[in-house]
């Protein structure tokens, strides 16, 4: 059940990001200067942490989404759902650790 709750929550988080993302990207049609100003405003430590959280949500949602597809379409999916959840969490940890180390050292460590 908690994997499902996590899937829902990360789904809603990603939806709100996409909403904002579509809005700020469409700014380039209004004026490239406004777009640059808005994107520039994202370059602060708080946003860097936000981006980290967003990537964490996306990684979980992506891998768990594959697990849910396997549960629905693979004959043994329901039987191995728990093992697959551990695989999802392991993959999440590996991918997220790799991203977080590089991203945070770049964003917070200065250039």
């Amino acid at each position: 059940m908690w994997s499902w709750v996590g899937h829902r929550i990360t789904g809603v988080v990603i939806f709100f990001f996409l909403l904002v993302h579509v809005l700020d990207t469409s700014l380039v049609r209004v004026s490239p200067e406004a777009y640059t100003a808005v994107i520039g405003a994202y370059k602060n430590p708080l946003m860097a942490l936000g981006e980290t959280a967003l990537v964490a949500a996306i990684i979980f949602h992506a891998f768990n989404g594959l697990r849910v597809i396997a549960v629905d379409f693979w004959k043994k999916g329901a039987k191995y759902q728990r093992q697959m959840l551990w695989v999802v969490l392991a993959l999440w940890l590996v991918v997220f650790a790799g991203f977080a180390i590089r991203h945070l050292s770049l964003a917070l460590g200065g250039h």
């Binding site: 059940m1 499902w4 629905d72």
Partner: protein, 260 residues
């Protein structure tokens, strides 16, 4: 704590270690029951009881002790008390279980043991819920043999493999532990629920039954199998160990491929 039970002296010589009711260890528990009586108050409330129980006692025994010795107004369903009739499914420590199959010693007795009615069905009094929406869904999947053609003069024979195909779903006792553990059912009472799908599965995959397509059509509905979000709560709740989510997945795949 171990107390000596006042038992009548045995009339025959028994070797040491045989019998002796006092050997069963006792312990104290706090039973926290969700009480609701619409004739008294619209609000449900928790009620605590301190009880001394034995190591062999189940949650049902604790409820009996309250009802028979402390407060006769406590209401709950139970019939066989041996995990077959499916009457006493309730939410114990936040999990759906049968009160008659849950030993107190297996729970954390240092904390209060919470007992609530199962969720998603209207509560009538204390631990008793209105099971009608549950049985309505059960009836809609036609949980009985439908066969075409001539009635055989002998029994309907079936191979061991064909019988094995739906063996898991024959175990259902209709206790509603699965359906009332489903978060989809909690918010959408129209959903057929795991129990109805399990009982449809039992006949869909029965080689003697000829109405599989009809049942698949019934379940190929917005409120049918497609409402299942594979949260696996039902599989964990089932006191009979039925792989409920697996059964639902098999029905989903049968609808997609129309192969039974």
């Amino acid at each position: 704590m171990t107390t000596e039970m006042a038992e009548p002296a045995s009339k025959i010589e028994l070797p040491a270690g045989v019998g002796g009711g006092g050997e069963i260890p006792t312990f104290n528990i706090t039973l926290r029951v969700r009480r609701y009586n619409p004739e008294v108050s619209e609000e449900a409330a928790w009620e605590d009881h301190q009880l001394t129980m034995y190591g062999t006692d189940r949650v049902l025994d604790a409820l009996h002790k309250v009802k028979w010795e402390i407060d006769g107004s406590l209401s709950f369903r139970r019939s066989c008390a041996h995990g077959i009739c499916g009457s006493d499914a309730m939410r114990i420590n936040g999990r759906n279980r049968l009160a008659c199959k849950t030993l107190l010693k297996d729970l954390d007795t240092s904390k209060p043991i919470t007992v609530e009615p199962i969720k998603g069905l209207p509560v009538e009094k204390d631990l008793i819920v209105d099971m009608e929406p549950f049985f309505q869904s059960f009836r809609e999947v036609m949980p009985f043999l439908i066969s075409k053609g001539h009635e055989p003069t002998k029994e309907r024979l079936q191979s061991i493999e064909d019988r094995e195909r739906f063996d898991d779903t024959t175990k259902c006792i209709l206790c509603a532990a699965c359906t009332s553990s489903c978060p989809v059912f909690w918010t959408d009472g129209q959903y057929f629920g795991p129990a109805a799908i399990v009982n449809a599965h039992r006949f869909i995959f029965d080689s003697r039954d000829d109405a599989g397509d009809m049942r698949l059509e019934i379940l190929n509905d917005k409120e049918g199998v497609w409402r299942c979000r594979t949260t696996f709560n039902c599989s964990e709740a089932c006191p009979r160990g039925i792989q409920v989510t697996q059964a639902i997945a098999e029905v989903k795949q049968a609808i997609l491929s129309r192969k039974i």
